[in-house]
Symmetry: C2
Subunit: 332 residues, 2 copies
């Protein structure tokens, strides 16, 4: 039974469950031994009804942190034991007002000294630990409320995953054998066709760039970026050279099965950095106004909504964004 301690922090749930079970089963044994017709699970509800004199199901659930069905079930048990009674509220007949019955009051006379003994026993126990255990529990509750384990783990996982994503570029200057380049071309094509088909239709300009990226993008002075994640090409982006040191961010796509790993963001940042190194003074992109998540991503890396001046080569392009070179990047 000591092994559980060695599992460390991760087994805290199991250890708490064991302590919980011990407390609850001891309480149960106490009622049984003292021949009091009561159960531990009824305690909080019965206690609070007595304290508040009259209270509804939902109010109890809120104040005790139970779910409503839990309170309904406990209340029904108390009603069947004739310890409380329920009446509908006059003004709002959905509400059920619970009050202690005469039999409940009589049972309370028996219960109160037992509760007092339990209270004192727990107090004594806690004192022997040398810690203000209840305060520690409060701390744990409040720290957990600020940021729970799920959120913490997600943050860590995201960071870990981002770290596992490797971005590399493919341009006229990149070395590499032909077979590898062919494989990359295929990935560039497939990943982009996949996402375009999902929301829109493939247009002539798409086909031109995707079928022959070497000629249409690289030879025109552009760069293609790939995101590699766990031995697979997970996403792409292209930096297209335009006139007068202008560049366009285009063909940015991430495979469906690796969404949510910040791959798009990492690609976008790589594109921006490359553009800066190329002395670009005008970086823009075109997208569709309905693609809110994408637009938010672009905003998060420094793009700002701009006027849609000239008609685009793409039917789907209804929204233009310019990169703001002066804005300091918020932390990524």
């Amino acid at each position: 039974m000591n092994t559980i301690k060695q599992l460390g922090n991760i087994a805290i749930g199991t250890r708490l469950r064991m302590l919980t079970d011990k407390f609850i089963s001891d309480a149960d044994k106490i009622y049984k031994t003292l021949d009091v017709d009561f159960e531990p699970r009824l305690f909080t509800v019965f206690y609070l009804i007595n304290q508040k004199k009259s209270i509804t199901i939902t109010e109890l659930a809120e104040q005790l942190g139970y779910t409503q069905p839990a309170v309904t079930q406990i209340a029904n048990t108390l009603i069947s034991k004739k310890l409380i009674s329920a009446v509908k509220e006059k003004k709002d007949s959905r509400k059920k007002i619970l009050t202690i019955t005469k039999k409940g009051d009589e049972l309370l006379l028996e219960l109160i000294p037992v509760w007092q003994d339990i209270e004192n026993s727990v107090k004594e126990l806690i004192h022997e630990t040398g810690y203000d255990v209840l305060f520690v529990l409060s701390k744990l509750e409040s720290v957990l409320e600020k940021k729970d384990i799920f959120t913490r783990v997600m943050e860590k996982t995201k960071k870990r995953q981002i770290a596992e994503v490797r971005i590399f570029e493919y341009s006229n200057n990149s070395p590499g054998d032909a077979r590898f380049k062919k494989e990359l071309d295929k990935n560039f094509r497939d990943i982009n066709y996949e996402w375009i088909k999902k929301y829109f239709k493939v247009e002539k300009e798409d086909r031109k760039q995707l079928e022959n990226p070497g000629k249409e993008i690289i030879e025109n002075g552009g760069v293609i970026f790939f995101a590699e994640y766990k031995d697979m090409i997970a996403g792409t982006a292209a930096l297209l050279k335009k006139e007068n040191n202008s560049y366009e961010l285009a063909k940015m796509a991430v495979r469906d099965e690796v969404q949510g790993k910040q791959i798009g963001k990492k690609l976008g940042i790589a594109v921006i950095e490359k553009a800066k190194r190329l002395k670009c003074n005008n970086l823009y992109l075109e997208t569709n106004a309905t693609l809110t998540p994408a637009i938010n991503l672009y905003k998060s890396i420094g793009f700002e909504e701009a006027e849609m001046k000239d008609p685009s080569k793409y039917e789907r392009a209804t929204f233009r964004m310019n990169y703001n070179f002066n804005k300091k990047l918020s932390e990524i």
Copy 2:
């Protein structure tokens, strides 16, 4: 939800349960979100099988503090997911040896980083509380192991109940009206008949004393003691005067429905103290050797087994005890 805190020590079980639920459900959410085919409840068992490489159901149950059926169920789930495999031990075919499968090893590769993130998140959480929460839990566990809540409450309840028992005597010197004395006589008779009939048969000597205690006991220089508990006469004892400052403790009986409240002990002590005040130098009692609980009670208040010299007036009396006036009473 803050109300639960105000319930104080007694609601510690409920508070622990809530924390437990939060940890477990967060872990569940993490596996689901990361699309890992695993469940929190499988963790400890799967982890330990991996650590020990091969282990049986019962060993797991012992080391984890789970019941054997719990481990059987978890193991079966792991087997159905093909994460572990079970083979019978050659030497003892009752034993089932569990080991991780290839698929289990593959899942572990996915799980370990997640577990690491959980581990770190809990560590971070605990650090933010400012307390060594796991150490506090250990303390709680060890203090609880030394003496659990049930035992503590029982001790307190016993003390409380003893305090509620009032012993009073009824002798030639006692004041009181006739009706009250008649009522006491009836109680003395009924309580004793009740217990005698339960184990033995009522004998002539019983009838003589019980039907006419005033004449047979009081007028002979004896004293009758009553224990009053919650407005009822709960037990009786008599101190019978014999020749040469000898006294006999007899007719000690406690109603069945108030057994276990130390009433007999309290009566016995009252009898002994009275005997001392009467300058008694030889206090004895006769009982039956089969009545072990009664004999233990007598021992606990200072009686010692003695030789059964003269044949008793009672058929059932097979065991004689003398009070040791020199022995210091152990704490009561």
